[in-house]
């Protein structure tokens, strides 16, 4: 990675969404000051997050679920920095799911860093102040004369030092200061923040230690497989339970009733199905093959991808369901434009394809259930499980276990409710595990989308009109999960005559958030169509974009086009934009703002005469604020997001026939492999803004950067994903 700093006149003071209030809340919990005193009765426990042992080992709670985004490392780094301890003395401890104590525990939206940047540093600084107070009391000196360094309190005037470890009992009895009153370090004094730091679980990962949900075992645990209908929500008409039970090692097989309603399923409700429970998961899978299930009819059993496309095309020719936003008067603007372009774009449903399939271990006993889940958002599962089991949410305990990839899939807790229901029925602890086929056919997919665009440019090469009839998925006028577009989504407000119309298909396919939700499809549409308009205007795609972003800041609150422009200029410089390219090679550019991060990327491609596509290199520039918390983790997220986007562009497509998903494995749903992974050069512009997250925003622009590069190399415009390389033959 490389970085550059920019300073701007206006320092924006924006407290993270967590803010100081959340800190007070998290420090004291629900019980307030009394709860705090009780909590501090534990030896060395300074607050909800920090416990220091006499040997100087610092235990810090990692509050959020870890699914590979590195948060189990980076959030404790924030606390450790302000506590002023040596990172090698820190042990992180995964929290249980308890939002009353910890506030939101959610992996999603790249929100963890902006939410905790202030609040968790204040947690550390508060604990540090307690250490100083304890030392000052011992030394009978004013606390203001004490400093700290690497787990010690220092009194320079008298040359005295004392370790946090030896102060820990005393410090735990000190009344904590008001978190809002503690002084935070200046960034020049950071010793942990900004230092490349390996993940806290790295040693366990490379030696194969059991860390993941799938690895978790409890005594007496049985294994379960849960067979659901190919058509989402279809009920079991009949099943040969006896045949499954006859398999050696099978303990039970039974039908569970569940919701037929796809909206309920998207909220984590139990789907109808057949459970097979055995002393081995492999055995349960063998028995499941003998069930011969007949599924009941379901209203969506005739839907298909082909039908969706035909419906979308028909809808595009009619009046939209509604107009989401209209600015200026696009129709006359189009009529009077110097050049107009019309194009239909489409991206398909795609699957999260977590490498660790969905799984959950549940142990139900006497009206209470304990759960071990790699969920990205465990808290909502408590109410769903309680409802399913007829118990109260208080009697549901959820432990958070490392997840083998999240990408949004584990925001839905379907495996949690399945495990809980099956454990209750068999009266034993149970691990539910999806097969690869279950994983592919029972996802909450990134919604497909159809965009019918019209745009116009004036004789000066400026976009004057932009009209999009967006055909998405939804019911009764409500979008299916993550199938919407925000009214202010770019280029709204940047084009004088702008209109976003929407129509919806009721498809019966469960949808959900998938890494960089909405953006992962919309950036492809927008940045491709901008490229088309640049070509129509006879302009360089970079210059055209800069001109488009040149609007008064007041016109686009929440979108700082100066930051976007800076990333574009820098990526152009890094990629040597505008250089002469050999035949059938090209550079493509795209930018996107999402999850508070500004990204611009350039892709270089080479297209062989037979259509084979070689993505040679990707340059990426971002502005996610003034501080990269953990550069090692940040680079990994950016590179992984870029390659994930390339995987979307090249391969990923879920199709539906007779209401069911057709793909079942990595054979018919390929993912990017190492031989197709290009080199990546990554740069951070450190602007004077609070730091924001990196789990998602690097993904969206790479897709149009690649397809725009293909256009530059071949003159073929890619308007449908994934890229059909057969179209690219010379």
């Amino acid at each position: 990675m490389t970085t550059t700093q920019t300073r701007r006149d206006t320092l924006k003071v924006s407290l993270g969404a967590g803010g100081a209030f959340v800190l007070g809340f998290t420090l004291a919990g629900k019980a307030g000051a009394q709860g705090l005193a009780a909590a501090n009765a534990a030896p060395g426990k300074l607050n909800t997050y920090v416990t220091i042992a006499p040997d100087g080992i610092v235990s810090i709670i990692a509050k959020n679920p870890e699914v590979g985004q590195g948060i189990k490392t980076s959030l404790p780094m924030l606390i450790a920095e302000e506590l002023d301890v040596d990172w090698s003395k820190v042990r992180t401890v995964q929290a249980i799911a308890d939002q009353a104590t910890y506030g939101s525990q959610l992996v999603g939206g790249s929100t963890a860093i902006p939410q905790h940047w202030q609040s968790l540093r204040r947690v550390g600084a508060t604990a540090r102040a307690m250490m100083i107070a304890a030392a000052a009391e011992e030394w009978k000196c004013p606390p203001g004369e004490c400093a700290t360094d690497a787990g010690q309190v220092i009194h320079a005037r008298t040359n005295r030092k004392v370790t946090y470890g030896s102060l820990c009992t005393k410090a735990a009895c000190i009344t904590p200061p008001d978190p809002a009153s503690v002084q935070l370090k200046a960034s020049k004094d950071f010793k942990i923040i900004g230092r490349p730091t390996p993940q806290v679980d790295t040693a366990a990962i490379v030696t194969g230690q059991p860390l993941f949900g799938i690895d978790f075992k409890v005594p007496g645990m049985l294994y379960a497989t849960y067979l659901k209908a190919p058509v989402f929500g279809a009920k079991v008409a009949s099943a040969d339970l006896a045949a499954a039970k006859a398999v050696k090692g099978v303990r039970d097989a039974f039908i569970l009733d569940g919701s037929e309603n796809v909206n309920d399923l998207m909220n984590g409700a139990l789907a109808p199905g057949v459970a097979v429970v055995a002393d081995s998961w492999w055995t349960a899978q063998q028995a499941r093959a003998k069930l011969n299930v007949q599924w009941a009819a379901h209203p969506t059993s005739r839907s298909s991808s082909e039908g969706f496309l035909a419906q979308a095309q028909t809808m595009s020719r009619g009046a939209p369901l509604r107009t989401e936003l209209k600015a200026g008067d696009p129709d006359p603007a189009l009529a009077s434009a110097a050049k107009t372009v019309e194009a239909a774009y489409h991206y398909p449903f795609i699957s999260h394809a977590n490498l660790e399939p969905q799984n959950c271990t549940a142990s139900y006993k006497d009206g209470k259930v304990e759960i071990w889940s790699p969920s990205q958002y465990p808290e909502p599962a408590k109410a769903v499980v309680a409802r399913q089991l007829g118990i109260t949410a208080r009697d549901v305990t959820i432990n958070m276990v490392r997840g083998g990839g999240g990408f949004g899939r584990r925001l839905v807790n379907d495996s949690v409710v399945e495990a809980a229901a099956i454990s209750k029925q068999v009266g034993a602890p149970v691990k539910v595990l999806f097969s690869r086929e279950d994983e592919m056919k029972h996802d909450f997919y990134r919604a497909a989308g159809y965009h019918f665009l019209k745009g116009g440019v004036d004789s000066g090469g400026k976009i004057t009109a932009w009209k999009n009839h967006f055909v998405s998925f939804g019911k009764n006028g409500a979008y299916s999960t993550a199938a919407n577009i925000s009214r202010t989504e770019f280029p709204a407000r940047f084009v004088p005559n702008y209109q976003l119309d929407v129509s919806m298909i009721d498809g019966g396919i469960p949808t959900g958030f998938l890494r960089a939700p909405i953006s992962n499809g919309v950036a492809f549409i927008t940045q491709s169509f901008i490229d088309e308009l640049a070509v129509a205007a006879g302009q360089d795609p970079m210059a055209f974009r800069l001109k488009m972003l040149d609007v008064p800041a007041a016109q686009t609150p929440g979108y700082d086009s100066a930051r976007a422009i800076a990333t574009i200029r820098k990526v152009a410089e890094m990629s040597n934009w505008g250089r002469r390219m050999p035949a059938r090679s090209g550079l493509g550019m795209a930018f996107h703002f999402a999850h508070s991060g500004y990204f611009a990327q350039v892709a270089e491609v080479k297209v062989a005469a037979n259509g084979d596509l070689d993505i040679v290199k990707v340059w990426s520039v971002c502005d996610v604020g003034r501080q990269i918390i953990n550069p090692l983790g940040a680079d990994n997220q950016v590179e992984g997001s870029i390659l994930d986007g390339i995987s979307h562009a090249l391969y990923q497509k879920i199709t539906v026939k007779d209401g069911a998903v057709q793909q079942a494995s990595f054979g018919d749903y390929p993912l990017l492999r190492i031989n197709k992974a290009p080199a990546i050069e990554n740069h951070y512009i450190l602007s004077d803004n609070n730091p924001t997250g990196l789990g998602e925003p690097a993904l969206p622009p790479v897709i149009p950067a690649v397809t725009n590069a293909i256009f530059a190399a071949t003159g073929k415009r890619i308007r449908t994903l994934p890229i059909d390389t057969a179209q690219l033959k010379a």
Binding site: W281, R673, I674
Partner: protein, 154 residues
Amino acid sequence: MAYTLNVNGRTVTADVDPAKPLLWVLREDLNVLGPKYGCGLAQCGACTVHIDGQPVRACITPISSVGTKRVVTIEAMENDAVGKKVQAAWSEIDVAQCGYCQAGQIMSATALIKSKPKPTDADINTAMQGNICRCATYTRIRRAIKRASGQSEA
């Protein structure tokens, strides 16, 4: 059927169905949890182990075919001169994101370096193509293999 196996240098027994794949015998019967289930079809490589030194997908290897061959998993790589270097490179570069595939990646990389002590980019592409990393840590995997084999990482 009772099988006597050689796993990570120890003799162990498992009384299981002959068709049960080695992966599930390791995970369920022998509590060796490093090899992971990803697909059950030899498409992702998360289950990769060494059998007599060769990288093998344990998810499609019936236990009845293993016999007395030496089965080695990620858990024993610390005792393997090459495996240890690969693990060290993986740690230093901090290759992993979620980490789920990395045991399989390390097993494939170790087998590669044993057969080709200085693997080229093309060798790496060929040998590592069977291992999916859903988090796409491929650029770091490439660097880690270069480092573990004592080559320049550029």
